[in-house]
Amino acid sequence: MQILLNGLISGLSIALLAVAFQIVYLPTRIFFIGLAGLYAVAPYVGMTIQQTFGLWPISMVASVAAVVALSAAFEWANHAPLTRKNASEGAHLVSSLGLYILLVQLVAMLWGNDVKTLRTGLDATYHPFRPLDDSVLTGSQLFMFGGSVVLLAGFLVMLRTTDLGLRLRALADNPIQFALYGYNVNIHRLFAFGLAGVFATAAALLTAYDIGFDPHTGLHATLLAVVAVIIGGRSSFVGPIVGGLLLGVIRAQVVWHFSARWQDAATFVVLALFLLLRPQGLFGQKTRIEAT
C-alpha cells in the first residue's frame, strides 16, 4: 500500500509534465524538449521570489507567470517562425533541444549547479488511512497529491466543457481544418504553449517541494513524461495522465523488488516494449506510425 501510494504520487508529477508535453505535441507536432528547461527554471524563480518577499503565494504566482511568459516566448521567437518557414519535425526538435541547453546553462550560471530545496515546514508526517492501513505520507506529498489532482481534473473538465477546450481539441485533431473555419491558429498555439508552461511549473514546484531541485533535473523528468505519453497514447489528452500514473507505480515497484538504481533501465525497457508492440499506446487509435 505504501509503495502503491508513493508510486501514485510520483506518478502524478510525471502525469502533470506529460500533460504539458502533450498540450504542445498534439496541436503542433512539436517535440517540445524546451519543456525541460521550463521545468528547471520554475523552482529557481520561486525560490528567489520567496527569499525576497517571503510569501509563498506570491512566489508561486510569480514562477507560473515567468514560466508561462518564457514558454510563450519560445513559441513566438522560435517555433512559430520555424513553422512559417515550413521547417521539418527534426528542425523543431533540434532547435527545442538548443533552447533547453541554453536555458539550463543560463540557470546554472545564475544560480549555481548545486542541489537546492524549497522546504517550508511541510516535513510533518500523516497517516491518512489510519484505521485501515499504516501508510505514511509527508506533508509535501499530500500537498503534491492535492495540487496535481486539482490541476489535472480542472484540465480535463476544461477540455470537455468549455468552448476553449473544444477549440484546443479541434486544433489537435486537424490544424488545417481549424484554420479554414476562421480560427486564429497562432493565438491558440500560443495559448497551448502557455498552458504547457502552467503544467510544467506545477510539476516542477511540487517536485521541488518534495525532493529538491538542481538545474539538470529537467531533462530526466521530461523524458519520463515522454515515456508516459507513449504508454498512454499520443493521440489523447487522457492517455498521458494514465501513462504517468502507471509509470510512477511501475517505478515504485522496481524500487521495491530490485533497487532504485534499476528504475531508469526498467522505464526504458517499458518504453521499448511499447514502441515495438503497441506504438499507439493504451488510449490511441491504431494507425501506422509511418503514415504520420
Binding site: G98, M109, W262, D264, I289
Partner: protein, 299 residues
Amino acid sequence: MNYLIHLLIYFDIYVIVALSLNLVVGYCGLLTLAHAGFYAIGGYSYALLALVWGWGFLPAVLAAVLLAAVLSLTVSLPAWRLKGDFFVLATLAVQALVFSLLYNWSNADAPLGSWSNLTNGPFGIPGIPRPEILGVALTDSRHFVLLATAVAALSAFVVRRLTASPWGRVLVAMREDELAARGLGKNTRLFKVQAIAIASCLTAVAGALYAAYVGYLDPSSASLDESILMLSMVIVGGLGNFRGPIIGALILIALPELLRFLDLPDALAANLRLAIYGLLLVLMMHFRPQGIGGEYRLR
C-alpha cells in the same frame, strides 16, 4: 607543443565520431541519440580487455568493434519500422539502457572486471594502459598522436570511399524516398543495418582511442549530454557530405580553447560553452538548417 598534440588527439577522436554519426544522421536521415552509447561501449570494451585480461591493442579494439556491431542491431532494428520522433525515442531508450548498465553493473566488494562488478559503476575505470603496437609502447603523447591520426585518416578514407560508392548513393536515395528505393529493388532494411553497424563500429574505435589516451573512463561518456554534444557537432558542422562533420569537429575543439582567452572562472566557462552550443543549434535551425558546410536538411 604538448598542448597542440593534445588538441590534435582530441580532434582525431571527434573527427571519427562526427564522420560516423554523419553516416546515420546525414546519409540515412535517422536522428539518433544512441551514438555516445556505442562510443562508451568501445571505450569500456577496450579498457576491460586491456586492463583486466591483458589483451593487446589490436585484438581488444577488434573485439570492441565486433561487440558494437552486434549491439548496433538495437538501433537498426527499430529503424526498420519507426521514423521521426519515434525513432529518436527508441534510440534514446537504447542510450538510457547502455548508460544504466554501465552505471549500475558494479559491486564494491568484487574485483573490477568480474561478473558482478563489470564496470565499477559511477567510479569508472582508472589506469587503462596505453596501447603497444609492434612492440613499441605508445606511452608518450607524441607517439600516441601518430596512432590517433593514422586511425582517423583511415576512418576518413573508409567513410569517403563508402559514401562515394554505389552503396553510399543507395543510402542517399533511401533517405530522400525510401519507397522509391525499395521500388528499385534495394533492400533498404539491410542498408540501414549495414550503415548503422559501420557507424557504431567506427565510433567504438574512437571510444577505445579515447579510453587509451585519457587512461580513465566513467559512465558519463555514455550520457545523454555526450550524445547531444555529438549530435550538435554534426548539425552545426553540416550533414550529408564529407566536409561538414570535419568542420563540426573543428568547431567543437576550437570553441572551448577560444573561450579560454576570456579568462572566466572554470565553472562558468563550462556552462557558457554549452550555452553557446544551445544558441548555435537554435540559430542554425533558423538560418542554415543544413549546417555550415552541409548539404542535407534534417527532416
